[in-house]
């Protein structure tokens, strides 16, 4: 469904992503694991046309994405929950969700989509008139994910949905991801929380200093001693 070939992203002289290749199949949940500054957000940024790629090719459903502007991607079925969530903080939860259904592709069954989102996050139904910016971090993350789902995406990109959330709240977010996953939606997730992510994903890529240093099936990576040392050792504090 999504193929990335030899992607390089650089900010001035600093190369944040170096010759990265990966693929995500239809219905798969694929994780990108890496430490701070590894280049995870740059990768999602390049896929969602938020940052410019210096080299490489990104193909979605056989179509090259080079030159496709950010706002067109949503119409093509790619929804992103970026780092920092990208919600509309000054607007109500209901308005955020309504905006999520802005693309033509979502307009037909926005009502049904909203029911699904409320089913997934009952809190959003309770708080539909609250101004999103006044909500807690976890609630705002729900708004961001719910908003992305409103566009009826085929591919969901998530950038560290657990960032800055308390353990219990993180658990709630991963529960929701598990349910989203069960609907068969294709997901590419970037995380530092390796344990919880590997429990959910089909496959994962390990990224370090802008390069892919390993990849494999999630259950294999879970038991790989090198991975356990690098990603699951001390890093598990605060999760599961």
């Amino acid at each position: 469904m999504l193929e990335v070939e030899g992607l390089t992203v650089a900010y001035g002289k600093h190369v944040a992503l170096n010759d990265v290749s990966l693929s995500v199949g239809q219905g798969e949940m694929v994780a990108i694991l890496g430490a701070n500054g590894a280049g995870k957000s740059s990768l999602l940024g390049a896929i969602s046309a938020r940052v410019a790629a210096r080299a490489g090719q990104i193909t979605y459903r056989g179509r090259a994405l080079a030159g496709v502007p950010q706002h067109r991607l949503v119409e093509m079925g790619i929804a992103i929950v970026p780092e920092g969530r990208g919600i509309f903080p000054a607007m109500s939860v209901a308005e955020n969700l309504a905006l999520g259904a802005f693309p033509d592709r979502a307009r037909g069954d926005a009502a049904a989509q909203r029911m699904e989102v409320f089913d997934l996050f009952p809190k959003l139904a309770e708080r539909r008139d609250q101004i999103a910016g006044t909500m807690s971090g976890g609630e705002q993350q729900m708004v961001a994910i719910g908003r992305a789902l409103m566009s009826a995406p085929d591919l969901l990109l998530l950038d560290e949905p657990s960032l800055g959330l308390a353990p219990v709240v993180t658990q709630g977010v991963f529960c929701a991801l598990e349910r989203i996953r069960a609907t068969g939606l294709t997901v590419l997730i970037v995380e530092q929380n390796a344990r919880a992510t590997l429990a959910l994903a089909d496959r994962a890529y390990l990224i370090e200093a802008g390069r892919i240093i390993g990849s494999g099936r999630a259950e294999e990576l879970r038991n790989d001693p090198a991975v356990v040392r690098a990603f699951l050792g001390g890093a598990s504090a605060g999760t599961s």
């Binding site: 950010q70 905006l99 566009s151």
Partner: protein, 288 residues
């Protein structure tokens, strides 16, 4: 006495509100502080006079032509003049400064053209200039018509902004432009629409002013200034805020002119402006 002030104040405030609506859309949605706003207003006023005196077209019919023409002019101005500035500024805050400089230049270009074509004399038309009694107060019919235009256009816009999908996307771009592409909104297109619609409102405002007021080619800066004060009082990009603040300013000016001294209206306007700026810099009603 109080009734007279109230009704005349509301009628004057209606025009102010209409003027401010366009500026608040341009600044709030397209993020362009248009210093040539008053000149565009004046240009429409002159066009109305020309259509009325030259072709004998009724002012109401003329407005129906002038408003879409204003939209077209705004669309062109944005595409030719503003778009390069927008592209160059990217995510930085340069657009605000660049647009102020660019439209400051535009101000003199438009003013020069108006002076050449229409001269520096005071201009006015005589159209339905007879008094009508409103709750015992005599108001000129042309002013009432101008007020009616404001109520219809302003009210319609306020409803559209708060109740429709179109308004939702306009407000989304005004409030959080960075998030808009994430839901598939083409920010550039919306910004161009906002700027063009703002120009259409400037034109409608100018044309309705020409129905009852005397004006000259150098009056533009006063329109810009009053509209700007109302925009800041009502909250940038806030349509309902601009409507209320515009009506309030009309009331205050009329009250000061009748109860204290007509020479103090401008001073009163600025006094309110300063109080708002010091006490609530985000405007009385916050951002749209």
């Amino acid at each position: 006495m109080i009734m007279t002030t109230l009704i005349l104040g509301l009628v004057l405030g209606g025009t102010y509100a209409l003027l401010a609506l366009g500026l608040t859309l341009q600044y709030g949605i397209a993020r362009i502080m248009n210093l040539a706003y008053g000149e565009l207003t004046l240009a429409a006023a002159f066009v109305l006079v020309a259509l009325f005196s030259g072709l004998g077209l009724s002012p109401l019919a003329a407005i129906v032509l002038i408003a879409p023409a204003g939209y077209g002019v705004g669309w062109l101005l944005y595409t030719v003049m503003m778009r390069p500035l927008v592209r160059r500024s990217g995510a930085s805050g340069r657009l605000e400064v660049d647009s102020i400089l660019a439209t400051f230049g535009l101000l003199f270009v438009v003013q020069g053209v108006l002076l050449v074509i229409f001269g520096a004399n005071l201009t006015s038309i005589s159209y339905l200039d007879r008094g009508v009694s409103v709750l015992g107060v005599s108001v000129a019919l042309n002013r009432l018509i101008a007020f009616g235009i404001c109520v219809v256009v302003g009210g319609g816009l306020a409803l559209a902004m708060t109740r429709t999908r179109w308004g939702l996307t306009m407000r989304a771009v005004a409030l959080t432009p960075g998030s808009a592409p994430l839901v598939g909104i083409d920010v550039n297109r919306v910004a161009r629409q906002g700027f063009a619609l703002g120009t259409a409102l400037a034109a409608t405002g100018g044309a309705s002013i020409a129905m009852y007021q005397t004006f000259s080619a150098t009056d533009g800066v006063i329109f810009t200034m009053k509209a700007l004060i109302i925009v800041i009082m009502g909250g940038v990009g806030n349509v309902t805020g601009a409507l209320i603040a515009g009506l309030a300013l009309g009331l205050v000016e009329t009250f000061v002119a009748t109860a204290i001294d007509p020479g103090l209206t401008l001073a009163a306007t600025f006094a309110i402006f300063l109080v708002v700026l010091l006490w609530r810099p985000q405007g009385l009603f916050g951002r749209g």
